[in-house]
Structures are given as C-alpha cells and as structure tokens.
C-alpha cells in the first residue's frame, strides 16, 4: 500500500514542462484531420491538455471554425503550416497571437508539398526570431542532431522530431536518430508525425521521449474516442516503463546477471 502511494506520488510529480508551464498529460493531439464535432471526444478520451491547430485553419470564420470546438482549458499549440520560409512562419505566428491563440507556437516550415518534410535550416532561423519576440517555440524538425543543437541554442522550448513521414502511420522509422536526440539534447523531445499505433507511441515513450503527438492515427480510426483512449494508455505505459528503468537489452552476446568483477574488494 505504501509502495503504491509512493509510486502515485512520483507519477504525479512527473510533469511535462514547456515554456515554464506544467502539463500532466504527455499526449498532444493534432486537430487537422477531424470532423470538428469529434474533437471534443478525442481530447477527453486522450486526456490531452495540448492540442495543435493550424493558424491557417483557425483563421477561417466559416462553417469549419475549429476554435469553437476545442474544449476550454486545453492549451492551444498553433502551428505555422503553410509557411515556406522563416519570415512567413514568423508572420503566421504573429497572426496567431492576434487571433488570441497565445504564445505557444509549433514552428512548421515546409518547402515540399508532397512529403511535407520540415526545412530544418529555415526552422532554426524562425525559432530564433520567434523566441526573441517572446514566443514559446516548439519546432517540428527532421531528426538531425546538429539542427537540434542549433534549435536549443536558438531558444526552442522543445524539439519535435518526426518519427516517419507525416500521415504515414509508419511508426518509428527514424528511431535511432530520435534516440540520439533524446540522449544528447537537454530539451524535451516530443515525437511528432508518423506515429500510427498506440504501441509505437508506447515505444517512443519507453525510449525517453517527453511526449507524443498524433493526429492521423486517431482521426482516421474507426472508433475515434476509443483509439484516443488507447493512445492515452499507451503513452502512460511507455512513460512509466521509462521511469522505472527498462532492463537492458544487449544487441550482441549475452550478459551475466551478476557483475564479473563483483569479487573485487577495493
């Protein structure tokens, strides 16, 4: 019983900190592919405290006004999708602030309409500019260590490497490179794009990712609220596994369970 209490206490204090704000949930929900009427259920079942939305979509006054469907109390993470350069991203972020979407911004810059791969170079530039303007910048990036270091230097609040091409549901295609970021970068590493299954989200969390973002995987599920719930559980399970310290898996050869040098006295 005492043990259980200790675990719960530790888990409660395990918060995701972004731009000085604390979040209990480590699951970030994307919103771009939903029927807006299903967003609320997805947020609730996923236990998400942060939801991303495209400023270009929030900018619409028409029938699809997405802002009206996002539950209160959820932190908006507007993204700059549609931007092709750092300057455009900065202008979109400013517009987002004017629209009342706050200071958080997910920096998304793409010069490629087919794969929607992020442009790391422009992303670093935009992150630097946005940070200077007081934004909490969370850059979406291709998982490259040098870029991640530049982003940290530029003032990013986290880095958001893609796991696989966006919308592909292919999971951790870039696993080894994401692991390098987790190992080397002091900022939270939020795995974004390509996560197609709860098991993949779980694996990323086991690796030490600070959070997971998913959109397509839930938005295109047969039963959206149920899949949202599955992701919540998977992210939580992965986090707990990470915190508990996974048993080491050696890639080659065996490993003795007691140390070979245990007989030494000094």
């Amino acid at each position: 019983m005492e043990e259980e209490k200790r675990i719960q206490k530790n888990l409660k204090s395990d918060q995701l900190i972004l731009g000085g704000r604390e979040f209990s949930s480590r699951f970030i929900l994307g919103s771009g592919k939903y029927n807006v009427e299903l967003i609320r259920a997805a947020v609730e079942q996923a236990g998400a405290e942060i939801i991303t939305l495209a400023v270009r979509r929030a900018n619409s006054d028409g029938a699809g006004k997405i802002l009206d469907y996002i539950p209160e109390g959820v932190t908006l993470l507007p993204n700059t999708s549609g931007a092709r350069t750092a300057e455009e991203a900065v202008r979109i972020a400013r517009l987002s602030r004017e629209l009342g979407c706050g200071n958080f911004v997910k920096v998304e810059i793409m010069r490629d309409a087919k794969y929607l791969l992020p442009d790391n170079q422009e992303t670093v530039k935009a992150t630097e500019l946005l940070t200077k303007e007081g934004f909490t910048a969370l850059p979406y990036m291709f998982p490259d260590l040098n870029t991640a270091r530049d982003l940290a230097q530029a003032g990013a609040a986290a880095v958001m490497p893609l796991a696989a091409p966006i919308g592909s549901n292919r999971g951790l295609a870039a696993k080894d490179f994401i692991q390098i970021l987790i190992d080397e970068i002091e900022l939270p590493v939020i795995v974004d794009a390509g996560i197609g299954r709860p098991s993949q989200a779980c694996e990323a969390m086991e690796m030490g990712a600070a959070a997971i973002m998913a959109n397509t995987a839930i938005a295109t599920a047969g039963e959206i609220p149920l899949m949202a719930q599955a992701f919540r559980k998977a992210v939580q399970a992965g986090r707990e596994a990470y915190l508990s310290g996974l048993g080491r898996v050696r890639k080659t050869g065996g490993e003795a369970s007691s140390p070979l040098t245990g007989f030494l006295r000094e």
Binding site: G32, K33, Y34, N35, V36, A54, V55, R56, R57, N59, S60, D61, G62, A63, G64, G82, A83, R84, E88, R91, I92, L95, M110, R111, D112, A113, K114, Y115, L116, G167, S168, N169, N215, T216, A219, T220
Partner: protein, 414 residues
C-alpha cells in the same frame, strides 16, 4: 498573340508568347504516345493496387480497361489514401465568371467566339457586387474565370478582379487564358494564389483540329502555362484534360504525368487535379445539347470542316464508372494532390466522390456572367450546363451528413 488562321502551325509559338526551356513537354507527350491502355492485364492492375509507392507504370495500369473490374477495390484504396492525406476535410469554393468574351473557336465550347450567345463583361463595380453576394454565403475561396479574350479581359482587368476578390476571400484562384510568367507575377501581386489551366486534350493532332483558330490553338504555350504560373510566384497549379475529346485514358495519363513532372521540378507547388468530362453545353448557345448529337451549322454557327466533323465524331463518351476510375487512379498515383469535382456531375456522384477521391467541391455554382448578385442587371450566357444546382448551405449539409468536415479556407495570407 493572335491567330485567326486555320493554317497557323499549332505547335509554333506566336510573337509575344514566352518560351520556356523545359523537357516536361517532350516527356509527357512521348509517354502519352507510347501508352497502350489495352496492353495491361489484371495482373498489372493487382500489382499497381498493392504497390506501396506507385510509379507511372502503375498509374497506367490503373487507368487501363483491365482495371475496370477492380473499380470497387480502386475506390476503397483511394478512399483510404484520401483519408490518410486529408482526413475528413473537404474544401469548398465557388467559381465566378466575370467575362464570357472569347477569341477562340473551340469546337466543343459554349463560349466559342462564333456562338451567338449573350456576351458580357462585368465592370469593376459589378465584380464587387458579385463578390459581396458570394461572400455572404460564407464561402472564403473564389475561383475567377473568364472566356479567353485578352482583348476584352486583359491582364489588368483580371488583376483588378483579384484585388477586389482579395477583400472578400482568403483564397483566390484563376482559370483564365494562359499568359506569360510576368503576367502571372502581376496577378500574384494582385492577390491570386493558384492557376488552373485545362489542356483539354494532350493529343496534339486532335487538339489542332478542335482548336481551329484563336490564340488557344498554340498547343505548347498552353501546355507550359502551369510552369510559367509557378515561375511567376503562384502557390499552386491545377491540371486537367477535358475527358472525352480524345482517348480519355491516354489524356488522363498525360495530365497525371504532367502534374507529376511539375511537382518534381517545383516541389513546393501545391498540385491539384480537375477531372471534367465532356458534357452537354448550354443549349442556348445552340451547340450540341447531348453527347450523342452531332453539331451542325445551327449549333456551331458555321459549317464544320470535314476534319472537325471527324474529330468531333471521334470524341468518346466517358461513363461515370470510367470517370471514377480516372479520379481514383489519380488519387493513388499522387495521394497528396488536391482534386476538384466538377459541377458538370450530378449531386449523388459528387457527394460520393468527395472524401473518396475528390477533396474540393464547388457550391452555389453558376457558369453564367453576373448571376450571383441580384444587383447586377443583364446576364451573360453560360459556358456549359451544370448538373448540381445546390447552394452553399445545401452542400454543407450534404457533407456533414456524410461525416465530412467542410473547410472554407486552409490558407493564411501573410
């Protein structure tokens, strides 16, 4: 930029027409020429359906007659791909015709300059009224169209229309005559975002006959329009063949490859398709009222030359099943591309293909001039007959009832 001579070489540029150094033209035309739709087997189709990334060869198989029995599977895969790329989103827009003057003699078109229809060009004030009336419906994207008459609707006139449109809409598309990249640059500055040009047919011989005179006769100038538009700074370009003017499979193949090569050369470009098929045109224009009838002097208002009659008779009727096949094949070949479903098609067809292959649908459509605002007096005749007369709220309701999410705008102008 004028040609009124039937003997003008349709493959040679006229003075003032910008020429690009691009190999896309040769590649697309060679591929179209060598494409033999009948040569594909059901095994080729199965392979293409199961492929993870589809090649031009797979696209050719999916467009072939051998793929017709697989239509249900084609549709299921297309729907999955559309959902993966676009989720539930369906984009709404409406076209607004601001002038129906035309300098071309296209055998199949209601705006043919020889057709005795009521010609009209909206003044700036009238354009403003039309835009305001359309904006009232809640739409945020507009597509500005003109007949192809640089004399009556010059670049400046179109530019002014873009400026006015920009005050009412967040996204402005253009479907006007092809022009030079500097003109596209000017229109971009005026607020235009994307350019649609239908090649009509990618078959140069059929094209030559069906476009006997007028600047449109120059086949390569039209072909390179999208590339010039992108060089002029447009965000996106749309492609289409008017299916049925020639072998529709070969034309769809060429349109797809055209888009494919442009995308590779301009990776930032937003690519989209339209899939129009030859449909009855405005009976008031007197041209063929159904696809079975043959135009004669009373319909075309001039005697058809014998080669025109032959070309016109050689047109194909494209069935709904075949149209859907083309749309699904395009979706599977270029999953990320936008796709507009024409108002030439009936309600039920349109409602079913959005979300399955198409991603964009028009609502509250009129192809006449000055039909949106009650304050515009006098109206110009339309280009073709539309089959879906629903207004914006009716289309919205139809989308919602199918669980789709209408999106009025997905673009921020910064």
């Amino acid at each position: 930029m004028e040609t009124n001579q039937r003997n003008t070489n349709h493959m040679e540029y006229l003075e003032g027409m910008e020429q690009l150094q691009s190999d896309i033209f040769d590649r697309v035309l060679a591929a179209r020429e060598s494409y033999q739709p009948e040569s594909y087997t059901s095994q080729d189709v199965r392979k293409a359906l199961e492929a993870e990334r589809r090649t031009a060869e797979d696209f050719a198989a999916l467009l072939s007659p051998a793929a017709e029995p697989f239509l249900e599977e084609l549709a299921a895969r297309a729907e999955k791909e559309t959902q993966r790329q676009f989720g539930s989103s369906v984009y709404l827009f409406t076209p607004v015709y601001i002038s129906n003057y035309c300098e071309n003699h296209c055998v199949y078109c209601g705006f043919n300059c020889k057709n005795q229809i009521h010609r009209m060009k909206l003044s700036q004030e009238e354009i403003e009224k039309e835009m305001a009336a359309i904006a009232e419906t809640g739409l945020e994207e507009i597509l500005i169209l003109t007949g192809e008459s640089p004399g009556q609707a010059d670049v400046k006139y179109i530019g002014e229309a873009c400026r006015i449109a920009r005050n009412y809409f967040k996204m402005v598309g253009l479907e006007v005559y092809p022009m030079n990249s500097e003109d596209y640059r000017y229109l971009r500055e005026c607020g235009a975002d994307y350019v649609t040009v239908f090649q009509e047919t990618y078959d140069p011989k059929q094209y030559e006959i069906l476009h006997p005179a007028g600047p449109k006769r120059i086949f390569p100038y039209r072909f390179h329009a999208q590339e010039r538009a992108l060089q002029g700074g447009m965000r996106g370009v749309a492609f289409a063949a008017l299916l049925g003017l020639s072998d529709f499979r070969k034309d769809a193949f060429a349109a797809g490859l055209h888009a494919y090569y442009i995308q590779r050369k301009y990776p930032y470009a937003e690519i989209s398709f339209s899939c129009p098929r030859l449909r009855p045109i405005n009976p008031k224009a007197g041209t063929c009222a159904d696809t079975e009838s043959k135009p004669d002097e009373t319909t075309i208002h001039r005697e058809l030359k014998s080669d025109e009659t032959t070309a016109w008779t050689a047109r194909q009727e494209v069935t709904e099943r075949q149209l859907l096949q083309v749309m699904c094949a395009c979706r599977l070949f270029m999953p990320f591309a936008g796709m507009t479903i024409s108002t030439r098609e009936r309600e039920e067809f349109r409602d079913h293909v959005v979300g399955m292959a198409a991603t964009k649908i028009s609502a509250g459509v009129s192809t006449g001039i000055g039909n949106h605002s009650k304050e515009v007096t006098g109206q110009g005749d339309s280009q073709f007959e539309i089959a879906d007369h629903r207004n914006v709220s009716e289309v919205l309701a139809a989308l919602k009832s199918r669980g789709l999410q209408p999106v009025m705008n997905d673009y921020v102008y910064v």
